[in-house]
């Protein structure tokens, strides 16, 4: 991946993550409905509270990606988060969009994967 492609993908993913976080804050109950009943049953908090936590997480990951700070960790967490979304939200008509986002986040994480010399953070 060249430098320009990296920045385009990073900024694009960042905008998506932050905006999703904002939209969750706008309608937490509506977004909580996406959580499958089996997943809601194993939560320690109410689905609405869990989805609010997700919104904070999305915004933080998005901001880190946007300003290119701890980008490896942000993209890795974004990938893990999207995998969990695919697991708890089930398969529906918009699943393909999450798969696209997951591929983008994974591409960033793989691109920035720590080398043998040390962690990306320490470079």
């Amino acid at each position: 991946m060249n430098n320009y492609a990296f920045h385009v993908l990073r900024a694009g993913l960042a905008m998506t993550f932050i905006w999703i976080g904002v939209l969750i804050f706008q309608d937490p109950a509506g977004w909580a409905a996406f959580i499958k009943p089996w997943a809601a049953d194993i939560l320690f908090v109410s689905p609405e509270r869990a989805i609010m936590g997700t919104a904070v997480f999305d915004i933080l990951v998005g901001v880190f990606l946007l300003v290119d700070f701890l980008t490896f960790w942000a993209s890795l967490l974004a990938s893990l988060h999207l995998i969990s979304v695919l697991a708890v939200a089930g398969i529906d008509a918009i699943t393909v969009r999450d798969i696209g986002l997951l591929a983008g986040a994974l591409a960033l994480a793989v691109f920035l994967w720590p080398s043998k010399k040390g962690l990306y953070l320490l470079k």
């Binding site: 920045h7 900024a11 960042a14 904002v22 706008q26 946007l66 300003v67 290119d68």
Partner: protein
């Protein structure tokens, strides 16, 4: 909603650009100029610091405030009228400052900086979005 999401996208683009320039200045590295070679001439000129801080820092704060206000309007936090007014004033003041910066590059510094022109275009796009909805950004 669509206008606000577009406005937010533009502000996030601006945040990303200015964060890149801040990072490069802190590392004392020259930013990459995707088009032309004059970025350094503009970014190291005496006009790179107009409001007592470097322009990219002022720009970062500007874009951060715009994105925050767009988010507040969507979530429904604060007074809709006041936030709308602040957003309109900020974007049109930003457009005026951008026109001034374009004039400086064209006539005074006589060099064009890709990132500065991109930032100006981003702010003009925001102004067009606001004009296209008649100054009413409804969530």
């Amino acid at each position: 909603m669509t206008a606000l999401s577009l406005l937010f996208t533009m502000a996030a683009l601006g945040l990303s650009e200015t964060a890149y320039l801040i990072k490069k200045r802190r590392a004392m590295e020259a930013p990459v100029c995707p088009v032309g070679e004059d970025c350094r001439a503009v970014l190291s000129s005496k006009y790179s610091r107009l409001f007592f801080v470097h322009n990219e820092i002022a720009g970062f704060v500007f874009y951060a405030v715009i994105s925050a206000i767009a988010s507040f309007l969507v979530i429904g936090l604060g007074s809709f009228e006041i936030l709308n007014l602040i957003l309109d004033v900020l974007v049109f003041a930003g457009s005026a400052v951008s026109i001034f910066f374009l004039y400086l590059q064209w006539k005074v510094i006589k060099a064009w900086c890709f990132w500065c022109v991109m930032s100006a275009l981003t702010i003009f796009a925001m102004a067009i979005i606001i004009l296209s909805v008649g100054f009413k950004l409804t969530p």
